[in-house]
């Protein structure tokens, strides 16, 4: 059941990206180009999404489980640290270079764009590099260097 629901929600999310214009990298770049001919449309995408999300998360915040009885997996991290700042900066630079973030990348892949496929492969590689990097630093933390 979860699988079917997740599939349908993914479809809905993707359709939202298409309708909104988020899956058009040229439009994203026009939004990010404050000094050029600025297209503010995408600010309204966020406004629309948050208008619906805000009450939803208010409800979720008061519950222990989802409506279907699944555990509510809310993020617990609170700290504003270097990882958050550095990661968000790198992500923002990549977003500004191509006008593509992860959701639209997957939609572009599905629309059959070869450049969409290339972007998704590079993005997956970036994520895999992060995982490898993470595993190494965890192993280092778990096993202090000999002699210490």
């Amino acid at each position: 059941m979860s699988v079917l629901i997740s599939l349908l929600i993914g479809l809905l999310f993707g359709c939202g990206l298409i309708v909104s214009g988020m899956s058009n990298p040229a439009k994203v770049l026009a939004f990010l180009d404050l000094a050029g001919e600025w297209d503010p449309s995408l600010a309204l995408v966020m406004a629309g999404a948050i208008a619906v999300g805000l009450p939803a998360f208010r409800v979720a915040g008061r519950r222990q489980t989802s409506l279907r009885g699944q555990p509510l997996q809310m993020p617990t991290a609170r700290q504003i640290d270097r990882r958050l700042l550095a990661g968000s900066t790198l992500f923002g630079v990549g977003w500004g270079l191509a006008g593509i973030c992860p959701g639209p990348a997957l939609v572009l892949l599905g629309s059959g764009a070869v450049k969409g496929l290339v972007f998704v492969l590079a993005m997956l590689a970036g994520m895999a590099i992060f995982t490898a990097f993470e595993r190494r630093s965890q192993a280092r933390r778990a096993q202090p260097e000999p002699g210490r």
Binding site: C15, N24, D33, A35, S66, I80, C101, G126, A128, I129
Partner: protein
């Protein structure tokens, strides 16, 4: 001074699409108890896999990939124009993948879900990646163009 490109300004479809995204985010948290952060959902597949944690992620990703196919059968798919060259595209993809995982989220996880949760951490992340995006486009289009 900011000049607005009124010709390409599409407030109604942008807002309507935003509502659909909000509805998807709402459904995932209220039905499945999960945050609809795309980088987290995809990135979770590249980590040591836990049982029962794979199928829903794959299904969600397939839904996103299939969205344009479904859309195309009912309506005309709006164009998605990728202006970046191949080298830029690969570099940008690496940064987006690595950065969104290091920063624990992207436009959906921090920008939509995090702001909807009124999370200060996500607000900071969103301000930082938006600023980095604005600065990058400014540099690419107006400083080094």
């Amino acid at each position: 001074m900011i000049t607005i490109d009124w010709l390409h300004f599409t407030p109604a479809s942008a807002f309507a699409g935003g509502l659909l995204i909000g509805l998807a985010v709402t459904s995932l948290i209220l039905l499945e108890g999960r945050i609809a952060g795309i980088s987290g959902i995809v990135g979770g597949l590249l980590q040591p896999l836990r049982q029962g944690d794979v199928a829903w992620r794959v299904a969600f990703v397939l839904g996103l990939v299939a969205a344009p196919l479904l859309y195309r059968t009912l309506l005309i798919l709006p164009p998605g124009r990728i202006e970046a060259g191949w080298g830029t595209l690969v570099f940008a993809g690496l940064l987006v993948g690595f950065g969104s995982r290091l920063g624990s989220g992207c436009t959906s996880g921090h920008g939509v879900c995090g702001l909807s949760r009124l999370s200060p951490r996500s607000l900071v992340a969103t301000v930082v990646f938006m600023t980095a995006g604005f600065a990058t486009v400014f540099a690419a289009r107006h400083l080094f163009a």
